[in-house]
Amino acid sequence: MNSHLPRALGGKIVTRPYKLLVGLFALAMLLIAWRMVAGLGATTAMNDGYPFGLWIAFDVVTGTALACGGYAMAILIYVFNKGKYHPLIRPAILTSALGYSIAGFSVAIDVGRPWLIWRVPVYGWRWNFNSALLEVALCIMAYVVVLWIELAPAFLEKWRNAPKPRLASIVGKTADRLDRLLPWIVALGVLLPTMHQSSLGTMMLLAGDKLHPLWNTPLLPLEFLVGCILMGYGAVTIESCLGSLLFKRRPETAMLAKLSFAAAVTLWLFVLIRLTDLIVRDQTEAMFAGDLYSTMLWLELCLLLIPGIAYFWPGVRTKIRHLFSGAVLVVLAGAIYRFDTYLVGYNPGNNWSYFPAVPEQLVTLGLVAFEVAAYVLIVKRFPILAGHSRAETA
């Protein structure tokens, strides 16, 4: 493995697609400025019935699940001690760090009084320890910090070779200290998502009768936890495939094929929990009601079952194309599950409805564009992706 240490890709940063991404991000920043001046009512479709919308359902709830690649890989590598996947961890941590940072930023523009959000971590004497929302807020804030510390070696490795000797020595000392600290940071990096990803489920459990019975289950926290690990594997696979495509690297087919086994196990665990829960809670009638809710449920399940069955087909897991398609379906299913729980299955009553307004969508698009642009910039300048990685030899 040591012969395949990560290294910076190099190459030109500002390309035409890069300019497009930056343009989308600039547009999003303008819209965010408008939101700060004119308020949420003027810029979003949120209302008294739906006090949360796309920014929470996608940027935070779905976005952090997509950013769970770092968490899912950490479980595999550090908890199950599968060192062979090590080349996948750094890009996964980078995606996680970017995704969680964007999620935190989205919360900051989504809350009614953004200028007071700093009080959440600071005003410890006012914490309500029974609040799931507080737990999510603190966990996500802490996890963002943990992720960037986990990623810090990538930056320090580059800077310790800096031409200025003074800087290099400071960076070197920091890196050495960080090395000793890293096991604890990694442990925190596994603990924190376990806490807040399940709490994201708890929050909709608190919605009570407003949430449709197909999603309203005491197992919601568990389903969110398993779901985020599943989406994390999917995101890592997609990211690796697109990386191969965009940066013209060798596809990590063999490693991804092995990863897809872990994904398949998680997938079937999720489906099993979901179906068992629905049957035990006697919701078969709602499952086959033929309405919007049952349609959405079967959409989720079918999107999972296709890769769930295909993964056990020998020919499928050896083809990078099928691994990619399977990961896309898994991620899509996980995203729909989360949208269903937060928006589709949520009914505040009396004619309330919600569909994200144009500025809302453009802000989300711009933030995703920023994430992609930042990812490209960092992998080109810092040692993130494993050089000449050939999974077979790992």
Binding site: G11, G41, C241, K248, R250, P251, W352, Y354, Q361, R390
Partner: protein, 370 residues
């Protein structure tokens, strides 16, 4: 009555200095004067520089005087007489007849241009004012004469302010309020039937202490007392906003203290500080005891609009406290669906193209090198 010694004889009245200062504080607070004003009032009163007051009683029932005297604070009636120098008041003064009249003349001469003229009761103007005569003069003549020499004119009660009950239809004696009879002169009006004694006392004490009058509205009413409607600060306002109305006296709502609007409460159109200042100091005011406000301070309401007729809500304030029953419930805009569709379509196309291109890559690692 115009005796030389005007210092308050407090011990004789059984009032301690503490109680005396308390009364000064209450009087100062009533008009929103700063706390320091209480000390200043006390100093001025003790120095014997009490404001000289001439009180004219015209077409009235003496209810205003009664309200001033029958307050529940211990010995407040006496303190009112101590805080001001009541030099002429037909109902309260000891002399009568010619002696009383000479007292009036003497006060007017000694305090020309500085004494406070308080008028209680309406001025009857029909037939040259012959329906009310005092000491051989018509009330109209007497009022004009005294007003010319007064420093400030205060019309106490609804009758003096705008005519009150004597001016009720068909008004055979042509009863009018003091401002109507004294055009061009500043007349402070303290309407109410009866008025709150603190509104009067505060106004008078501010003038005596600082030489100024409180801010007045277009009808000469001190804004500290008459700037808001009863409805705005009504203790039953929450019931109005929630739509809980008393339908008849003694019903469930009435027993539970609901809103009296449908019984004809004039609170929404009546400007007065009854809900905050309370009345008669013990909270006994119409709405407080379960009776609709009858609009005693308002010329257009009292003794004109029937007691149980409802009034229009003229100033529905503040609108943002009403429950939002018609707020935007959300919807789907065509532009939003178009953008969402475009983004989803682009993502799906990108995913499909990526999977196609991935299929072209050689899984054995023969894909293009950097």
């Amino acid at each position: 009555m115009a005796n030389v010694d005007r210092s308050p004889n407090l011990p004789a009245n059984g009032v301690s200095r503490r109680t005396f200062l308390e009364i000064c504080s209450i009087a100062a607070a009533a008009v929103g004067l700063p706390a320091s004003a209480a000390a200043k009032i006390a100093t001025l009163v003790q120095a014997g520089r009490k404001p000289s007051v001439v009180w004219l009683s015209l077409a009235e029932c003496t209810g205003c005087t009664e309200s001033l005297l029958r307050t529940s604070m211990p010995a407040l009636d006496e303190l009112i007489l101590d805080l001001i120098s009541l030099d002429y008041h037909e109902a309260l003064m000891a002399p009568s007849g010619e002696l009383a009249h000479s007292s009036l003349r003497q006060t007017m001469e000694q305090n020309a241009g500085s004494f406070i003229l308080v008028v209680e009761g309406a001025v009857q103007t029909a037939d040259g004012g012959i329906y009310c005569k005092i000491g051989g003069e018509t009330a109209l003549e007497l009022l004009r004469e005294v007003a010319d020499a007064a420093g400030v004119i205060v019309a106490i009660g609804s009758c003096a302010s705008w005519g009150g009950i004597p001016s009720a239809d068909p008004n055979p004696t042509g009863a009018q309020g003091v401002p109507h009879v004294l055009p061009g002169k500043t007349v402070v009006t303290i309407p109410g039937c009866p008025p709150n004694p603190y509104n009067f006392l505060g106004t008078v004490l501010q003038y005596a202490t600082f030489g100024t009058l409180p801010t007045l509205d277009g009808l000469g009413r001190p804004k500290f007392a008459f700037a808001r409607t009863i409805h705005e600060h009504c203790p039953r306002r929450a019931h109005f906003d929630a739509g809980r109305f008393v339908r008849r006296f003694g019903d469930e709502g009435h027993q539970n203290g609901w809103c009296l609007y449908e019984l004809g409460c004039k609170g929404p159109q009546t400007y007065a500080n009854c809900p905050t200042r309370k009345f008669g100091e013990i909270g006994a005011w119409p709405i407080g005891i379960g009776h609709p406000c009858f609009g005693c301070t308002e010329q257009g309401l009292a003794f004109r609009v029937p007691l149980f007729e409802t009034v229009e809500i003229q100033r529905p304030t503040p609108p943002d406290t009403y429950p939002s029953i018609a707020s935007d419930q959300g919807g789907v805009s065509p532009a939003a669906t178009a953008v969402a569709g475009a983004v989803a379509g682009a993502a799906a196309t990108a995913a499909y193209l990526a999977s196609r291109k991935l299929g072209d890559l050689n899984d054995d690692g023969a894909g293009g090198e950097e």
